[in-house]
Each structure stands twice: as structure tokens, then as C-alpha cells.
Amino acid sequence: MKLTKISTLLLSILFVAGCATTGNSPVVRGGENISYGDANAVETVTLDFGSTDLQSIAESMTRSLLQSDVIAKSKDRPLIRVDSIKNKTSEYIDTASITDSIRTQLTKSGSVRFAGNEQSAIDELNKQNQSGLYKKKKSNKIGAMEAPDYVLEGAISSIVKKSGSVKDVYYKFTLNLSGVGSNVLEWSDEKEIRKTKK
């Protein structure tokens, strides 16, 4: 009797497992048709700001900045602080995501360095030096921070027009690099994007 119960349990487990996987491929599927796509594909699901816009802005700005005299002709890798990107459009755009992508690509290029999060660095330094919890010899000293040479800031704006069933969206992303000491605008570029729905 016990043997029958165990075999029934084993069979039901096998049945459920059989439903969840498909054939001999390493995929667990449910009832719905879900699949992974290409994260680099051109996305035209709606007219709203999308992944392709973010990617193309980040790439275009990065490549342009890498060619600028400030970066290309610099002997040592300049230190940059990323300021905010103003969202002047009427829609919600995570502008920090754009600067994150730009910063990541520039860092990976190996041509520039970026200042880290200042507040978290101050908090950590204070903790190491003032709490008395850490070995003094191995603690990082206050007063050794490097000052950024340049600040990166920008804005994104849009013009939206609608007539009947036609809707047109124009985005303009502007990025500026200014010298901290000189307050001179050393480099600036913009990326334009047009999307139309008919």
C-alpha cells in the first residue's frame, strides 16, 4: 500500500516536471509565451522614450566626447564629475540611467576617470578615522581626495506634435563638459531623435 502511494507521488512529480520543461532544451516554460529577446534591438513599441533612444544617446555622446581634444589630447586621464541631466520633456525619463550608461562606456574606454559618490566617500572616511573601530595604520587618511578637472552636465528636451492620427516626437539631448577651475565650456554635443507614428 505504502509502495503504491510513493510511486503515485513520484509519478505526479515527474508529470509536473515534464509540463514545466520543453523537450531536451534547458528551458522551463509556463503556460504563457515568454521569450528572451535582443537587448540591442531597435525598439518601436510606442513613441515614448525607449531603450533604443537611451542607447543611441549614450553611444553617440560617448564617442563624440572620446574624440574631443580635451580627452584625446590629454596626457593623463582627466577626472570628471557627473552632474545631473535636466529632463525638460513632458514625460518621465530616468536621466540617471542615461548618465550611468555614458559613465560606464567612458570608464570602459580607459580614457577618463570619474569621481565617485562624494557623500558616501565622506561617510566612510569619517567612520574609518573617527569611530576608533579601525586600525589607524590601515585607515584611509582624510585630505587625500582628488578634485575633479571637469563637470559633465546636460539636458533633454522634446517637441511633440499631433495632427489627426499622426504624432511626431522630436528629442534633443545636449551634453556639456566644463572645466571646474576655468569654468570654460570645453566640449558640447547634441543628439537628435525623431519618431513618428502614423
Binding site: S51, T52, E59
Partner: protein, 130 residues
């Protein structure tokens, strides 16, 4: 003599430009878009310029992206996002790109234009949405 050397040099450079055609990876044969010329130069960062022409009188949508390799043939950058370019009827257009890092010494260009492929059987396209 100088003229002969100049002629030889010119023919060499023309050959190099023609040879660049092997840098293009077509995702399906293009019917109306033709790659006319590819220029590349490596001064600090590798620069590439591709001249294209649309032989049709209709506008054509092109999808493209570059791949970057080091001197040993290894890829030096993640897959780039696909980019779009609208080429008007009978227009000549230019694609230009700069390598994302100094490590890049070689490149490949991926081109696709879903609406003007010869082999219409496949519906593969770097497009998400409608």
C-alpha cells in the same frame, strides 16, 4: 618615374578601399542599398566611414552596427545597439563611427534592411515592436 609611383600608390589605395568590402556582414542580401566605399583610419581611435547609395526611388530603412576587434581578432566591446538610418530615394548617405576604445584596431559592419532584401523568406530583423 614619379608619375608611375603615384599611379601605383593610387591603385594600391583603390585596391585597399575595394578590399574593405569583406568588412561588411550583410544580414540578407540587400536589393537597393549598395556600399560604395569604406574608409578607415587609426589615429588614436579607429575611425570608419561607409558610403552607401540607395538605387531605388523609394526611401529605404537601414539597420546597422559596428563590431570592434583587437589586433588578435578578439572582440573588445559589447555588442553595440542596432542603429537606424533612413536613406531617401536615390540618396547617397554616409555612416561614420569611432571605436569606443584605443584597443580596437579592426572592425566589421553589420547591415540589414528588411524591406529590400532579395531573400524575402526570412523575417529576421533587429526590430522589436510593430
Amino acid at each position: 618615374m614619379y608619375k608611375l609611383i603615384l599611379l601605383l600608390l593610387l591603385s594600391c589605395s583603390a585596391f585597399a578601399a575595394g578590399n574593405n568590402q569583406n568588412k561588411v556582414e550583410y544580414l540578407g542580401e540587400l536589393k537597393y542599398l549598395k556600399v560604395d566605399k569604406i574608409l578607415s583610419a587609426n589615429k588614436s581611435l579607429l575611425k570608419v566611414q561607409v558610403e552607401l547609395s540607395n538605387t531605388s526611388i523609394d526611401n529605404q530603412q537601414l539597420y546597422y552596427r559596428f563590431k570592434w576587434y583587437d589586433s588578435d581578432g578578439f572582440t573588445v566591446w559589447n555588442d553595440e545597439p542596432w542603429k537606424t538610418l533612413l536613406i531617401y530615394g536615390k540618396q547617397r548617405s554616409t555612416l561614420s563611427a569611432v571605436a569606443p576604445t584605443k584597443k580596437a584596431t579592426d572592425y566589421k559592419i553589420e547591415l540589414q534592411s528588411p524591406e529590400n532584401r532579395n531573400n524575402d523568406k526570412s523575417n529576421a530583423s533587429p526590430l522589436t515592436g510593430n
